[in-house]
């Protein structure tokens, strides 16, 4: 199943009334959408609010979604329109405008640079998460580190990783999973501490 198929399955479930399926899409795309919107909006609280609003609008619009485009493309469009409406309503101007091209090659009118305009608190949290993940990756055994890096950084499939690492595909499955669990174990205390904080 392709990534798009998985999204479509989750959307189909949400369309049948399974709100939990939509929760999984939120978990998957919340940071990517926020990253996109951060090219429009200056304030981190605005980014969070608009990201939330975009997901709620997407949920409401699910009956109209027929899968002619990828879910994230559709979601991004809703996010951009929500941001534009927000800026229009608040009489604010977007940060910077430029063309943005998504993973399907569709272009959006967006900011060209990701502004570093988060609040000090959220910026600190971001840095801590990234630092923790990087440290956890560095401390992994070499075979796990290579497998997770090839997957997350280079986007290789398990089959491709198996060929690169000259090992069975089952070993790749196991290595990537173990790498993720090891990183998550390091990350969870930080996330628990940050729980109930805005960022």
């Amino acid at each position: 199943m392709s990534d798009r198929d998985i999204d479509q399955q989750l959307v189909a479930r949400a369309q049948k009334g399974e709100k939990r399926a939509f929760d999984l899409l939120v978990a998957k795309y919340q940071r990517r959408l926020a990253r996109l919107l951060s090219r429009f909006l200056r304030d981190s609280a605005d980014i969070e609010d608009v990201t939330q609003e975009a997901f709620v609008k997407a949920y409401r619009s699910l009956p109209a979604f027929r899968g002619e485009s990828a879910f994230y493309t559709w979601l991004y469009r809703i996010g951009i329109n929500t941001a534009k409406n927000f800026l229009s309503a608040s009489s604010r101007r977007p940060v910077v405008h430029a063309d943005f091209e998504d993973e399907d090659g569709e272009s959006f009118d967006l900011a060209s640079q990701v502004p570093d305009l988060n609040t000090p608190e959220s910026e600190l949290m971001n840095k801590q998460i990234i630092a923790t993940v990087n440290a956890a990756v560095e401390s992994l055994p070499e075979d796990l580190r290579t497998a997770i890096s090839l997957r997350e950084m280079d986007g290789l499939s398990y089959d491709e990783i198996a060929k690169v690492m000259d090992c069975p595909i089952g070993t790749v499955r196991s290595r990537i999973f173990r790498a993720r669990e090891a990183i998550a174990t390091e990350l969870r205390p930080l996330l628990d501490t940050a729980k109930n904080k805005r960022w």
């Binding site: 198929d5 959307v11 369309q15 940071r31 990201t51 950084m153």
Partner: protein, 159 residues
């Protein structure tokens, strides 16, 4: 089971297994947490500046207040299913075309025969009627079906 979650987010499961794992994630908080953590790890490794964002609970609470959407399932088919569907459709069209062609060919002959038939048919009827009138007249007392005799006779009488 968490390994399956890891495989699902990497698009490394078949459709059936993926559906099973999705159901399991929806029902199990620890699997749901794993789904979120694994995506966060990926975003952090790619240095997404918004790794600290977590709006899951807020959105979930807002969605709880929303009426549940119910849309007819119109389009959701995997790529494989679409390919199989297209092949099946093509096969059906081809089969229908062959059957139609086979049906049309003899039917056209029959039509041609039917169109050409009247002159030959009427000539044959005239011949039969002429021959049978004499026969019926000769044997009418032994015929049970008087109607048939009458018809035969009347046809013969018309000549």
């Amino acid at each position: 089971m968490k390994q399956r979650v890891s495989e699902l987010m990497d698009s490394e499961l078949d459709e059936r297994t993926a559906a099973q794992i999705m159901t399991a994630i929806e029902a199990d908080a620890s699997l749901k947490q794993a789904w979120n953590d694994y995506h966060l790890i990926g975003d952090a490794m790619r240095a997404n500046a918004n790794t600290g964002l977590d709006i899951r609970e807020t959105v979930s609470l807002r969605l709880a207040a929303e009426p549940t959407v119910l849309a007819p399932r119109r389009w959701f088919r995997s790529t494989r299913t679409q390919v199989v569907g297209a092949a099946a459709l093509a096969a059906s069209v081809s089969f229908a075309a062959v059957v139609a062609w086979q049906q049309m060919t003899p039917r056209q002959s029959a039509v041609a025969v039917a169109v050409n038939a009247p002159s030959a048919q009427s000539a044959m009827l005239q011949q039969v009627s002429a021959n049978s009138d004499a026969y019926f007249l000769a044997h009418q007392e032994m015929t049970a079906n008087q109607g048939l005799v009458k018809v035969a006779y009347s046809q013969g009488a018309a000549h």
